[in-house]
């Protein structure tokens, strides 16, 4: 599954899916690329409260990077860890949040990643990838692709700041 598009709701919908699967007693886990887990995010608080796994494995926002080499190394190390977890079959649902950026930034090859998933994802594992600009090879091997498009956005129309409990 892929949640893509320019609009809001990609990660939020992934959190909702996670909550739903968790409700059914499924083994769920979210790995976040790029994000480094700093900041007061409602999803981290909620996950901690109820014992749901969210692992921020990235190096922070692009505008926070010390340098791209470090960010690339951190995120590629995360992908190696994720591959092991996927192949191990210890989860029923794994979410790779903002994963498309590793391909967008040229750190990973879309064809290689797609092929790896096809060859290594356990059949029963639900895998959801979020992020803008999902590449075609990934879309080709997905069962469900949803595109979130902003029809009306407060950052554009009103200059509103990010709101606690809503955007984070």
């Amino acid at each position: 599954m892929i949640n893509t598009g320019e609009g809001k709701g990609k990660t939020t919908a992934a959190l909702g899916l996670m909550l739903r699967a968790w409700g059914h007693g499924m083994r769920v886990c979210m790995f976040q690329l790029l994000k480094d887990g700093r900041g007061d995010y409602g999803e981290y608080r909620a996950a901690e409260k109820i014992g749901m796994e969210i692992h921020p494995l990235g190096d922070g926002c692009q505008w926070d990077w010390k340098d791209e080499i470090t960010a690339q190394a951190v995120n590629l190390a995360a992908w190696e860890r994720i591959k092991t977890t996927i192949a191990n079959g210890d989860y029923d649902l794994i979410i790779l949040d903002e994963f498309t950026f590793l391909i967008k930034f040229g750190w990973l090859d879309a064809d290689e990643v797609s092929q790896w998933i096809v060859n290594n994802k356990p059949q029963d594992l639900h895998l959801l990838i979020t992020g803008r600009d999902a590449p075609q090879p990934l879309i080709d091997v997905a069962d469900l692709v949803t595109s979130m498009e902003a029809t009306k956005h407060p950052f554009h129309i009103q200059g509103t700041k990010a709101q606690k409990g809503i955007e984070y």
Copy 2:
């Protein structure tokens, strides 16, 4: 806020938003129109586990209705209850799931509903409405409208049945 569009993820993203706000200790509540709460839904199980309020106030799926008169009466009674809750200001986030259908079915007038919200919603209350075909008057008074579009859907391309923990 409005989550609309033909794609999946409208209710799921609402659940994610709810979890995030709940993580921040905000007072959150989801009212479901149409849905009657029957069935083994992961969101109901999760909500029960963690004490998050989801109230299914509808009369079930359209194809399950005994008759439209009853369904209309049940859903309009729900809207009256919801209006009281919104105006009371007891919550920080209220979600009206599948609410657009009450307008789509002609049971409520889009202009009247939009005007009611503008006049009665407490300023600090975050209100999220989900459902297909959000009417223009509702969009006009919204701060954020996201449209979920199915780029690739297993029901269309593969005839897959709804999967536990994913679709419900």
